[in-house]
C-alpha cells in the first residue's frame, strides 16, 4: 500500500474529472474526515484515513481490498476505471444519460446505447464527454462516453450509437472473479 506518485495522481484525477468535473473537490475535502487515494498492486483505492491506519496492520499479501476500489493502472500506464467506482461517480455526475426500460437490459449485457434506447440526456453534453448512465427511475447502471453531443442526438437516426459503453453493473455477475 503506497501513496500515488505525482503523475499517477494526475492521471487518476484527470479521469475522474471527465465524469464528475469540479465535484472532485467534494471527494477530497470531505466534512466527515479525511479521505485519500492509495495504490496497492496497481489498483487504486479510495478510503478514509481511519480505516487506512487499521488496514496498514494487515500484511500486503493478505490484504485483498479496503475501502472502495476505483480502478487500476494498465500495463501501458493508463488509468482504467472500474464499475466499483460507480458508488462515488453516480451522486456527483455532471452529465447523465437516462435509458428507456427496453434498453436497460442491452446496456447491462455490455452493449453501447443506441438512439432508440435513449430516454433523456443532460443538456449541452459535449461529444466524448464522460457520462453516467441511469435507468428511468434513477438507478445508476454504469458509465460511458457520449458518442454524440446533445444537439447531434436530436437529429441522429434511431440505430446510431449515442453512448459508448465502458462499464456496467452487469459486470458484478459477468466477471466477478476479475472485478478487481
Amino acid at each position: 500500500m503506497k501513496r500515488l506518485s505525482e503523475e499517477r495522481t494526475k492521471l487518476v484525477f484527470e479521469k475522474l474529472t471527465k465524469y464528475i468535473g469540479g465535484n472532485l473537490k467534494l471527494l477530497i475535502d470531505r466534512p466527515d474526515g479525511t479521505y485519500c487515494f492509495r495504490e496497492q498492486k496497481e489498483k487504486v483505492y479510495y478510503v478514509s484515513e481511519k480505516i487506512l491506519s487499521l488496514a496498514s496492520t494487515v500484511a500486503p499479501e493478505n490484504l485483498i481490498s479496503f475501502g472502495t476500489c476505483f480502478g487500476r493502472f494498465t500495463k501501458s500506464g493508463k488509468f482504467k476505471m472500474h464499475i466499483t467506482a460507480l458508488h462515488y461517480l453516480a451522486p456527483y455526475a455532471q452529465y447523465k444519460i437516462w435509458l428507456k426500460p427496453s434498453a436497460e437490459q442491452q446496456f447491462l449485457y455490455g452493449h453501447h446505447v443506441a438512439k432508440s434506447g435513449l430516454g433523456r440526456i443532460t443538456e449541452n453534453t459535449a461529444q466524448y464527454q464522460g457520462v453516467v448512465v441511469f435507468s428511468m427511475n434513477d438507478l445508476p447502471l454504469g458509465f460511458g462516453v457520449a458518442a454524440k453531443s446533445t444537439a447531434d442526438c436530436k437529429h441522429a437516426d434511431p440505430i446510431s450509437t449515442i453512448c459508448f459503453h465502458q462499464a456496467d453493473i452487469g459486470e458484478y455477475i459477468r466477471s466477478e472473479d476479475t472485478l478487481i
Partner: protein
C-alpha cells in the same frame, strides 16, 4: 370478431345440470349372476322338470347298457385309436337301438355342463350351491368314470383348503395391529420403500408405548437399531449421522425433522438498508412480477420470495445493490451481534459476504469492518458483494482466523460463523447426509475451538459498547455447538448473555453424558421443521477481562480433574 363475443353474459344452462345426474345401476356380465331357482322363467322351469323326469327314468333303467354307451361316447370323443376291441361291441349296440343314442347322450352332456360351471364359479360358491352340487354328485356319482370321481374329490379338497387359507388370512389381518418384529431373513431381503416407511411408523408406535406393544423377547435396542437402519434406507443417510440425529431428537420430532430436511427452504432476500428501503424494494420487485412478503416480525429487512418471473439474482435492482440473496437463518447471528455505529467489528469467516454486509448495513457504513476469510477463491465473492452493495468501511483480508489475534486486536465485536459439517443445511447440500463421519466432526470441532478462542482473544473487553462475541454454525450437532461454547467458557473469562432473539429453542444443557454449563440455555437453536429455516445455532458471549492467565489456571484444573 373476438371483442363482440358476449363474454360477460351469464348463460344459465337448461336442465337439471351435470351434477344431478344419477349413475345407473351396475350391469354385470351374464356369467357372474347366480340364478335362483325361484327366478327362473316359466319355460326354464318346465325344461328343468323335464330333465328331472328324464334322469329318473334313466335311473330306473338298467345300468349296464348305459355305461357301455357312455364309455363308448367318451372314448370316441377323446381317443379313437384306443378302443379297437370295444368298437365291434358298441357298433352292435348302436345298431340295436338307434333311437336311444341321442337321448342317452343328453345326461352326459348335462353332467359335463354342471361340472364346468362348478369349476368356474368355485371361488365365490356359497354353501347352498355346494349342497346342490353334492346332491347332484350323489345322483351322478354312480354314472361317472373313476377318473372323474377322482377329479371331483380333488376339487372338493382344494375348495376346503382355499377356505381354510382365507380364514387364516382374515385372522392374521385382525391380529396385525400389533407390530411383529421381522425375522433375520426378512431383514436380509430387500423390501420396497413403502414397506420400510410402514415399518418405520410401526416401530415408532411401538417405541412410544414400549411396555405394552413390545415383543417380549426383543430388547429396546433391537427396535432402535431396526428403526435406524430403516431411516437410513428411507432418507438415505449414513449410519453415523442418523445415530447422532436420533440422539438429538425425540422419536416423533425426528421424523418431522427428516421430512422437513428433504424440502428446500423458501428463497429469502435482505434489503440493503444503505441504498433503499424495504417498502420501495418490494414495490420495485412486484412491478417486475415477483411475488413476495415480509419474512416475519423479527426483522425489518427480510423478504420471502414465493415466485418470480425473472431470475432474482439478475434483476437491475440486484445489480444496483438494493438487495442480496440470503437465507433466513443468516440474519440471526447478525441480529444477535447487534453492531453499533463507529465500532470496530470483525467477521472471521465472511465469505460470501452475506452476514458481513448485513453488519456493515447496521453500522451505516461507519466505523471499520474487517471481513476475513481463509479461502482466497471465496473471498472474491465478498469483494463483489461489498462493492455492489456500496460498503465503503471495510477491510477485506485473507488470514487463517486462528492467527488474527497475533495481527490485530481490540475489536468491539466479533462474529464467528464457524466452518461446520453443515448438518443443518441438508436440504441445500444433500451430500452431507452420506459423506460425514466421526472424523469430520472431530476435525471441525478442533478448528471451531481454536477459532472461538482466537475470536475471544481478538476482542477488547474494555470496550465501552461491546466486548461481544457471537458464535454461530449451520450445524445442529451439539458437538459443534454447545460443546464448543462450553469449552470456551472454561478457557476464557467470558459469559453467555441472551441472544436478543425472541424465538428459537434453548440450547442443550444436558446431552447424553455431557453436563454443560447451565447458562447454555441462553443459546438458541433453530430447526427446519419448527422455524422453517435452515438448522442453525447462535450463542452470544460477553468478554469480561483480557486476562489470558486464567487459561492456564483452568487448564491446570482440567488436568487435575481429569
Amino acid at each position: 370478431m373476438g371483442r363482440k363475443a358476449k363474454y360477460d353474459e351469464v348463460v344459465v344452462p337448461a336442465g337439471p345440470g351435470r351434477k344431478s345426474k344419477k349413475q345407473s345401476d351396475p350391469t354385470f356380465p351374464k356369467g357372474l349372476i347366480v340364478k335362483d331357482a325361484s327366478s327362473l322363467s316359466h319355460r326354464q322351469k318346465q325344461r328343468a322338470k323335464k330333465r328331472q323326469l328324464k334322469s329318473k327314468a334313466q335311473k330306473a333303467k338298467s345300468n349296464e347298457p348305459k355305461k357301455k354307451k357312455m364309455k363308448e361316447s367318451v372314448i370316441q370323443a377323446a381317443k379313437k385309436d384306443d378302443n379297437e376291441t370295444e368298437s365291434e361291441e358298441s357298433e352292435e349296440v348302436a345298431s340295436g337301438d338307434e333311437h336311444e343314442v341321442p337321448e342317452v347322450q343328453m345326461p352326459l352332456a348335462n353332467a359335463e355342463d354342471s361340472d364346468a360351471s362348478n369349476s368356474d364359479a368355485e371361488s365365490e360358491d356359497s354353501d347352498a350351491k355346494d349342497d346342490e352340487t353334492e346332491d347332484e354328485d350323489e345322483e351322478e356319482e354312480s354314472n361317472l368314470l373313476p377318473i372323474e370321481k377322482a377329479n371331483k374329490k380333488l376339487k372338493k379338497k382344494q375348495e376346503k383348503e382355499r377356505k381354510l387359507a382365507a380364514e387364516e388370512m382374515q385372522e392374521s389381518i385382525t391380529h396385525q395391529d400389533i407390530f411383529t418384529f421381522p425375522t433375520a431373513e426378512e431383514l436380509a431381503n430387500p423390501v420396497s420403500l413403502q414397506d420400510v416407511q410402514q415399518r418405520i411408523r410401526d416401530v415408532i408406535i411401538v417405541l412410544s408405548d414400549f411396555k405394552r406393544l413390545r415383543d417380549k423377547d426383543r430388547a429396546r435396542k433391537e427396535y432402535i437399531d431396526l428403526l435406524r437402519t430403516d431411516l437410513c434406507i428411507y432418507f438415505s443417510y449414513n449410519d453415523f449421522l442418523m445415530e447422532k440425529l436420533m440422539q438429538i431428537f425425540p422419536m416423533n420430532e425426528l421424523l418431522e425433522y427428516l421430512e422437513a430436511s428433504e424440502v428446500q427452504r423458501p428463497m429469502t432476500i435482505r434489503t440493503n438498508s444503505l441504498k433503499t428501503r424495504r417498502r420501495d424494494l418490494a414495490q420495485a420487485l412486484i412491478n417486475r412480477g415477483v411475488n413476495l412478503d415480509p419474512i416475519g416480525k423479527w426483522t425489518k429487512v427480510g423478504l420471502v420470495v414465493y415466485s418470480s418471473q425473472v431470475p432474482m439474482g439478475a434483476t437491475p435492482e440486484y445489480l444496483a445493490g438494493h438487495y442480496i440473496l440470503q437465507g433466513a437463518s443468516s440474519f440471526l447471528p447478525v441480529i444477535a451481534l447487534d453492531p453499533k455505529e463507529n465500532e470496530r467489528v470483525l467477521d472471521m469467516c465472511s465469505a460470501p459476504g452475506g452476514k458481513s454486509s448485513h453488519i456493515a448495513a447496521l453500522m451505516k457504513n461507519t466505523g471499520v469492518l474487517f471481513s476475513n476469510d481463509v479461502n482466497r477463491d471465496r473471498i472474491k465473492a465478498v469483494i463483489g458483494n461489498f462493492h455492489r452493495l456500496g460498503i465503503v468501511n471495510s477491510v477485506i483480508c485473507s488470514y487463517d482466523g486462528r492467527k488474527i489475534p497475533s495481527i490485530i486486536k481490540g475489536f468491539d465485536r466479533v462474529l464467528l460463523d464457524a466452518p461446520c459439517t453443515g448438518t443443518g443445511v441438508v436440504a441445500k447440500d444433500p451430500g452431507v447426509k452420506i459423506n460425514k463421519d466421526e472424523l469430520d466432526v472431530q476435525r471441525c470441532c478442533t478448528l471451531q475451538r481454536e477459532l472461538l478462542l482466537a475470536a475471544i482473544d481478538s476482542v477488547n473487553a474494555r470496550s465501552d459498547t461491546g466486548g461481544i462475541i457471537v458464535y454461530s454454525t449451520c450445524s445442529i450437532l451439539p458437538e459443534e455447538n454447545e460443546w464448543i461454547v462450553d469449552y470456551a467458557l472454561k478457557k476464557r473469562d467470558v459469559k453467555l448473555v441472551p441472544t436478543g432473539l425472541d424465538f428459537g429453542e434453548e440450547g442443550f444443557t444436558n446431552y447424553r453424558h455431557h453436563r454443560f454449563h447451565p447458562t447454555l440455555k441462553l443459546t438458541r437453536r433453530f430447526y427446519p421443521h419448527t422455524h422453517n429455516m435452515d438448522g442453525f445455532f447462535v450463542a452470544k458471549l460477553k468478554k469480561f477481562s483480557n486476562m489470558v492467565v486464567k487459561q492456564e489456571i483452568v487448564e491446570d484444573d482440567d488436568a487435575t480433574s481429569e
